[in-house]
């Protein structure tokens, strides 16, 4: 396992135009890796939000890193609408592919199984489906009566980017019960993970830790980043800094306000090592 990589080292591995899976704001999003992508001036990224986007997606969009976003929603939750997402959509500089939460999960579950698609109930009659030429409705081949059902094609992200509480010497990371992150990591070609702490040993040898582990088989890069999720929450370790998120929602209504907030409030705390 590589020694002391920084978030910037991991961001350097993500080429422009990559398809990147991100967790939602309340579930181990990596602000450290997001800011590293902004520092490396990534361009043309295609975001795949699992299953919704928020602060992380809005930061990347505001910094000009994103060409496309597939998501079931973009919101800052209690802090309100995502201002740079909304502005980019209005300006026509962002391709938005609307989905619905279980379709996002299904696309990744198909990829982790290595099958080309998986069926999903519901969604019929939604305009989300009408705007997804890549989704297909077939007649359930096992039903006696006509039974239209949706097929979602597998999505294999180039990278899954997230933050984990722990990494061990064997290259495993611990995310706890947030198993949709495991699906994301299983489906992605590479998983780049910032971690709060490193511990000795192998967590897969510990029956109590193992169920919350994502195996090092999927993890291709780990960077140490204490408080790497802040100002978002990290499980029960630290809560979201709601005043920072509210300040962001207000400041980022303008491109200038966004740039100033990024420079003054976010970047100083995350200088490259």
């Amino acid at each position: 396992m590589a020694g002391a990589l920084s978030p910037d080292d991991l961001a350097a591995r993500v080429p422009d135009g990559a398809l990147i899976a991100l967790p939602p704001d309340n579930s181990l999003g990596s602000v450290a890796l997001t800011l590293a992508l902004i520092r490396r001036r990534a361009r043309g990224l295609r975001l795949f939000c699992v299953p919704v986007g928020g602060f992380l997606a809005d930061l990347l969009i505001g910094a000009g890193c994103v060409a496309e976003i597939e998501t079931s929603a973009v919101s800052l939750g209690e802090a309100g609408t995502a201002p740079r997402f909304t502005a980019a959509l209005a300006a026509g500089t962002l391709i938005v592919r609307d989905a619905t939460c279980p379709a996002i999960h299904t696309a990744l579950q198909a990829a982790e199984k290595g099958v080309p698609f998986m069926p999903l109930r519901g969604v019929l009659g939604s305009d989300v489906l009408a705007h997804r030429p890549d989704w297909r409705v077939i007649d359930n081949p096992f039903a006696a009566e006509p039974d239209p059902i949706l097929l979602i094609p597998a999505v294999r992200p180039d990278f899954a980017l997230f933050h984990a509480a722990l990494a061990d010497e064997a290259g495993n990371v611990w995310v706890g019960r947030r198993r949709e992150l495991a699906t994301m990591a299983h489906a992605a070609r590479d998983s780049l993970v910032s971690v709060e702490r490193r511990i000795s040993g192998d967590m897969l040898e510990d029956e109590r830790l193992a169920p919350g582990v994502i195996s090092g088989a999927y993890v291709t890069g780990i960077a140490q980043a204490a408080r790497g999720a802040a100002p978002l929450a990290l499980l029960d370790e630290y809560p979201a800094e709601t005043t920072v998120l509210r300040d962001y929602a207000r400041a980022a209504r303008s491109a200038e306000g966004f740039a100033a907030f990024l420079e003054q409030r976010l970047m100083p705390a995350h200088e490259p090592a």
């Binding site: 079931s72 973009v74 209690e78 009659g125 939604s126 705007h131 009566e145 019960r177």
Partner: protein
């Protein structure tokens, strides 16, 4: 919100709406609500569910965004797997727009995907609305802007054609002014909140609905219900909805 100005003193509009939702949850004519899920940023529906529980009714309540003691061990995906199997009996949905066929729009207006106004997006609604035996639609703002003749985009349809797999649809729509019942085809004005008249509601509603000759007033919370909301319900909610509890209950 509309009932603020004219409601009798003694309870907050949020308490009134939570009580109204709780009575709909307990409607004996509706399918049983053994397991209720509550989505993100829904403190009033959450309060309604906790009120139902503290009134002594057996119900499992799963708050998606509960910060500690979250009900799911497989991530939020588990909600959709449970719902796919039919294990979630009741869910709440809202909409930037809602129309008379109980279609909801969480996408936006103008050209797809929201060139005039962009709402957050559909979340899981396109799935949950069809796969849950009953849904209570809840939107505090009751205006022609929200309650429209026809939604600009359908995030999730209220009515599906025969042959589309669907377990249920809207039971009712609760707003800051009124309760509408939904029979699978049309809304009927079921009650007006205190201070509202059928004529005013008609003026504030963009879609057509049935109006019976006699419209009751939505009953206010009882002192016992208010005591439960301010005591055990607030205590249950404080960790997940601190801002809401501070605003409504001052703690």
């Amino acid at each position: 919100m509309a009932i603020t100005a004219s409601a009798p003193v003694g309870f907050a509009p949020e308490e009134f709406l939570a009580t109204t939702l709780a009575r709909l949850i307990l409607d004996p004519a509706a399918p049983p609500a053994r397991h209720i899920a509550v989505g993100a940023a829904s403190p009033i529906p959450a309060a309604a569910c906790f009120l139902v529980k503290t009134l002594g009714h057996e119900a499992r309540l799963s708050l998606l965004h509960k910060t500690s003691g979250n009900p799911f061990s497989e991530g939020t995906r588990e909600l959709f797997d449970l719902t796919g199997q039919g294990r979630i009996d009741l869910f709440f949905l809202g909409g930037g727009e809602i129309d008379g066929e109980a279609n909801i729009n969480l996408i936006g207006t103008g050209e797809w995907p929201g060139s005039e106004a962009r709402f957050p997006g559909s979340f899981g609604s396109a799935f949950m609305y069809l796969m849950t035996p009953r849904t209570i639609l809840f939107r505090e703002e009751h205006s022609p802007r929200v309650l429209v003749p026809r939604v600009a985009f359908v995030s999730a349809p209220g009515i599906s054609p025969p042959g589309h797999f669907r377990r249920g649809t809207a039971q009712a729509l609760v707003t800051g002014r009124a309760v509408f019942a939904f029979d699978g085809r049309r809304f009927t004005l079921a009650s007006c909140h205190p201070g509202q008249t059928p004529a005013e509601i008609a003026a504030q509603t963009g879609f057509a609905y049935e109006t019976p000759p006699e419209i009751p007033e939505t009953p206010p919370p009882t002192p016992a219900e208010l005591a439960l909301l301010r005591g055990p319900v607030c205590a249950e909610m404080r960790a997940t909805y601190p801002g809401f509890c501070a605003r409504v209950w001052g703690r």
